[in-house]
Amino acid sequence: MNWLSLIVSLFLTGIAGYFIARIKPSLGAWIAMAASCAALLLVLLGGDALPGGPAWGLIRFEVTPLGWFFSLLIILVFSTNGIGSLAAKGRQHREPVYTMLYLFALAASLGVFAAENWLALFIFWEIAVWSSTFAIGLGNGRKGSVSYFGMSLLGSLMMLFAILAMGSAYQTFQIREALTTALQNPGPALMVFILMLGSSMVKLGIMPFHIWMPPAYTEAPDEFAPALAGGLSKLGAFTAFLVSAYLPISGFMGGSWRVKGLPALSYGLVLLASASIVFGTLMAIRQEDAKKLLAYSSAANGGYIIIGILMGTSMSVSGALVHLLAHALATTTAFSVLAVIVRQTGTSRMDALGGLAHRMPLTFLAFLTAILSLVGLPPMLGFVSKWLILQSLASQGLFLPAAAVVFGSIGSMLYAFRILSTVFLGQLKPRHRALQESSPGVLLSLAILSGATMGLGVYPSGLIQYTAKIEASLGMSETVQTAGLSIRGINGNLNALLIMGAFLIGMVIAGAIFFKAPRSRKVDLMDTYTAGEFIYSPELYHYGTQFAAPFERIYEKLPSISRVYAALASLTDDLGNLVKYLFFSPMPSRTALWISVVTILLIWGEVL
């Protein structure tokens, strides 16, 4: 069993799935689930020593620890999403082509993570882009898929330019070779570094490039959104790791002045990532639609990953890897839960929902773990990664990015509470009384994801040791150490199990006091102290819209970046209009005029 056969079989099952689904649509979901779970088992058992398989022309594979880590992550996301969407009888599942696109996207991303040379990586990257574009296209809206495709195309063309620049300057397309030779004679190395990071920032949705995320996540079909948000946007992080590891910017940027030991360029990019955190958090607080809120929060979380990568210390890189996993698990859980909600209530606008926790408690618990991990609170994996990143920021003394990270984590508490209280807590509207708990398939997938988040959150040392192995494989000099149960940071160490222990002890004490005290009477939701107001209907009694009004008023005039892109698009339109008016008018005399004018220019130009 080698990587090439895994990918080829996934592609073939995709095509087979298309034809089978045309006969019996519901079978499509089965195939998607079965294929992705099989892939999960194969990769899990194979370990990172999986052979790359025979070379098929340009397409050669080589499984590296980093690649294996990413593949495991994306297969986990796709298989749990497959299990979840299997149970759901979603509208998208009547589209036979959905299964094919779903498996194509999975196979292509596996291709990216194990590609041995840049061209193979680029080819699979593009296949992942256009298969997910068409999958988003199946949803209810065109703006999302077009802006997704437009931005991903921008990213992949930047990457193509960089690859070809490397290829032509160093005569090789092998990933490791190209980057290491780039170190010795740094001809286009600087340009390559910027373009590569630019393309990964587009995919991760860092601030100036994030405009595709809100429309894409809202308009994508509900089954595909978790896979897109959790899995596919992580492709960008993979290339960012490759480039910043093999082409350490300090290597060839030695000359220029450095800020706190970090070369000026990567400090600039770190500032950009921190701006993305602040901007993403502010925009997330302001959103009315749950999916948009999560989209902006992934823009913010993308910022943490980029900061972790660019700092280059052992703790920050391992923090970035862990945060990648934490964010993937949390976003997939959140979007799967939203998928359930949208399927039953028909909308993901937060003010139209409320009190759903009383109807679907287990889903609520899964959503709670996801939100805690997004915010980075202790028992969850999100806390471990945030701890690592903050530790390395503090030890490197980068105070502005540290301020941004801190603002991000505090601000995330606000928008996390917003989505929790408006969707799950608060008043249950009469029309939602008939909602049931999500089906067992969905619950199973949510259980796996939140179990992983919590389990790794409490016992992270296994994961941290693997990130150390990745750092070693990426050629970093010192890697993150773990002593027994605790992670040994530069200025302090973290024993997640001990924290969980302390918390549980506190829980026991609180429970003891709570249950010793007299039992309290269960009261209906509407029966609360209304300080003199007489409110008769749950709709009025639910605090949903304009949630953080006082805080939002402060930054009302925050300029939205998407207006910049709209201006760009209309500029091209005007240019097109001008060209049509000038050169394509149907009057023969105008054509004759243009021919003579151009002849004169060319002839007399030749003389001067």
Partner: protein
């Protein structure tokens, strides 16, 4: 000298095409352009004191100083092409007149 004249004739034709909007006038200027071009090509093959390239009783031998015959044969072809295009152009003129009732392209263009 002759080349300058023929060139100006050619570009006079183009001037007609650029300024005139009436179809028949444009066809006329097309012909003026063709004639100018043919004249120019024939003058390429001419030199002072050379005779027509035909062997006849007065000029029996091929050693005589003949004019370059090739441009003349090219012009022969180009003239016939001119006839072809003018015929088709006139057919268009009739068709456009039948469709739009007027031959002024500007008005037709305005109406579309």
């Amino acid at each position: 000298m002759m080349e300058l004249l023929s060139l100006s004739l050619l570009f006079l034709g183009i001037y007609g095409l650029v300024t005139k909007h009436h179809i028949l006038k444009m066809i006329v200027s097309l012909n003026v352009m063709e004639t100018g071009l043919n004249l120019f090509i024939t003058t390429l093959g001419y030199q002072e004191g050379q005779i027509a390239p035909i062997l006849s009783s007065q000029f029996p031998s091929s050693a005589l100083n003949f004019v370059d015959p090739l441009p003349q044969s090219l012009v022969l072809t180009s003239i016939v092409i001119g006839v072809g295009t003018t015929a088709v152009a006139l057919a268009y003129a009739i068709k456009i007149f039948k469709d739009h009732g007027c031959l002024d392209l500007e008005k037709i263009e305005g109406r579309l």
